[in-house]
Every structure is written in C-alpha cells, then in structure tokens.
C-alpha cells in the first residue's frame, strides 16, 4: 500500500480547517535526521496535509510526511519553519509537531 501524497497546503487564506504555526530550530547542528524522522512519523499519524517552509532559506513548502523532502529544508539552528496543516485534524497535528521543536534533541515518541 502506498501512502497518498496530496499537494502541499499553501500558506495564506485557506479553508476553515487550515492552520499554521511557526517554530524555530533549536538544535545546534540544525534539523538532523532523528528529528526529521520524528517529524515524518508524527505527521503520518494524522490525516491532515502538512507542509513545512524554511522561512530563512526560502525553501519549501515541502511535505512533512516525506523524509526526503524534510531533508531538503536545509534547516539550521535559528531558522524559522512555518508549518501549515489542512484537514480535520490539522490543529492537533500542528500541536504534536510543535512539541518536537519545543524539546530540542529529544524528539517526541512516535506513538
């Protein structure tokens, strides 16, 4: 079975179930693979389409459910990432993702 890869939700005016949030990369080495893995695993628990944009590198939006795309964010310490989610569980999805960034180096458990 293949996971669906919907088009990225764009920041800006969206439907009622869309929301966004900006987080800052706190890890000294930037957004590393373990954190990327936590983001992808967390994002995949939700139905919502979730996109991430690196506001400081002008990269994205990329699909938060794809490790390949997360790796393309070039996110370093201090970079601001905009998370945009769209779907019935957009809000809890962003909540869970923000948790990952709130605890640098200590990614949220995947379940």
């Amino acid at each position: 079975m293949s996971r669906p890869r919907p088009p990225h939700p764009q920041p800006g005016p969206e439907g009622p179930a869309s929301c966004s949030r900006t987080v800052t990369v706190q890890e000294p080495m930037g957004l590393h693979l373990r954190t990327g893995k936590a983001i992808v695993q967390t994002a995949n628990r939700f139905q919502a389409r979730i996109a991430i944009r690196n506001l400081d590198q002008d990269v994205g939006p990329v699909d938060a459910k794809s490790i390949l795309q997360i790796m393309q964010l070039q996110a370093r310490q201090g970079h601001r990432l905009e998370l945009v989610a769209q779907g019935p569980d957009a809000r809890p999805a962003l909540e869970a993702l923000a948790q990952i960034f709130a605890q640098p180096g200590e990614p949220a458990p995947p379940s």
Partner: protein, 145 residues
C-alpha cells in the same frame, strides 16, 4: 512491509549503512547487508552475486525487496543475482538507482511507514538530487530591501 538489501564492495560499509538505516526504521524493517569476497587469503573488496542472492532470500518478503548497491560491479552482481531468482520473486525485487547512504536512510524510514516497493524506491532515488551543503546565505533575490 518491504525489506532492504545493502550491497557494497566492503562488508564493513554495508554493515555501517545498515546501522544508520536501522536507526531510521526503529528496527522495524528487515535490512540485510552483504559485501566483500572471500578466498584463502581472506576477505577482499568486491561483490559476490551468489552472496547477494542469499541476502535477497534471507530478506525475502512478498511485499518485495529493495536492493541498494554502491557502484559498478555491485550493480552487476545484484543483476546477476536476480537472474537466479524464480520469476515471481524477481518481479518483487528492485535494484535502486539511489545513492547508497542517503537512499538507505530514506528507504528505511519510508519502508517502516508502510510504503510500497515502488514508492520506497522512488523516495530513495529522490535523494540523488538532494542538496547537502546549504547555501551560506539566503538567496539575495528573496530579500531585496
């Protein structure tokens, strides 16, 4: 869930790649490393198609096996190994064009999330165009005063 075979000229390299990929998959994905050739003088750099065949059979799952190889003769060895598989198994194997390390990391995570053989391979091959060294400054075109 698909399985992954890592083929390298060096047994150590194959095992090292498995180690990093394993961490991404949280141990949920079968990842089998294979590499090196042996003779009476010891182990040499190289790949043995029959050992690759054995690795594929060890890793086998009906969901499919993705084979990631380092370079040159590792690819030839993997192709030769596939010739010895029954056609119905061969159809469920892919030799990936992905870079070995990045491809294995991405494939392991995507496989652990339940991606199909072709979806996982596509993600792994996508790492070939990955930008590894970030631009030192934001694109000036994006930040004109």
């Amino acid at each position: 869930m698909i399985a992954i075979v890592i083929v390298s000229h060096s047994r150590c390299l194959a095992e090292g790649v498995r180690e990093v990929a394993d961490q991404m998959a949280s141990g949920q994905v079968t990842i089998v490393p294979v590499g090196g050739v042996q003779d009476q003088e010891g182990t040499h750099l190289g790949t043995d198609p029959m050992a690759v065949l054995q690795a594929i059979q060890d890793a086998w799952t009906p969901d499919g096996v993705l084979i990631l190889a380092d370079l040159g003769s590792a690819i030839l060895s993997a192709e030769t190994a596939l010739e010895f598989l029954p056609p119905e198994q061969r159809r469920r194997c892919r030799i990936s064009n992905a870079p070995l390390v990045e491809g294995a990391i991405v494939a392991a995570l995507e496989a652990s999330l339940g991606g199909s053989l072709d979806a996982v391979n596509a993600a792994a091959e996508g790492t070939g165009s990955l930008v590894k060294v970030a631009r030192p400054h934001p694109d000036p075109r994006g930040s004109t005063p």
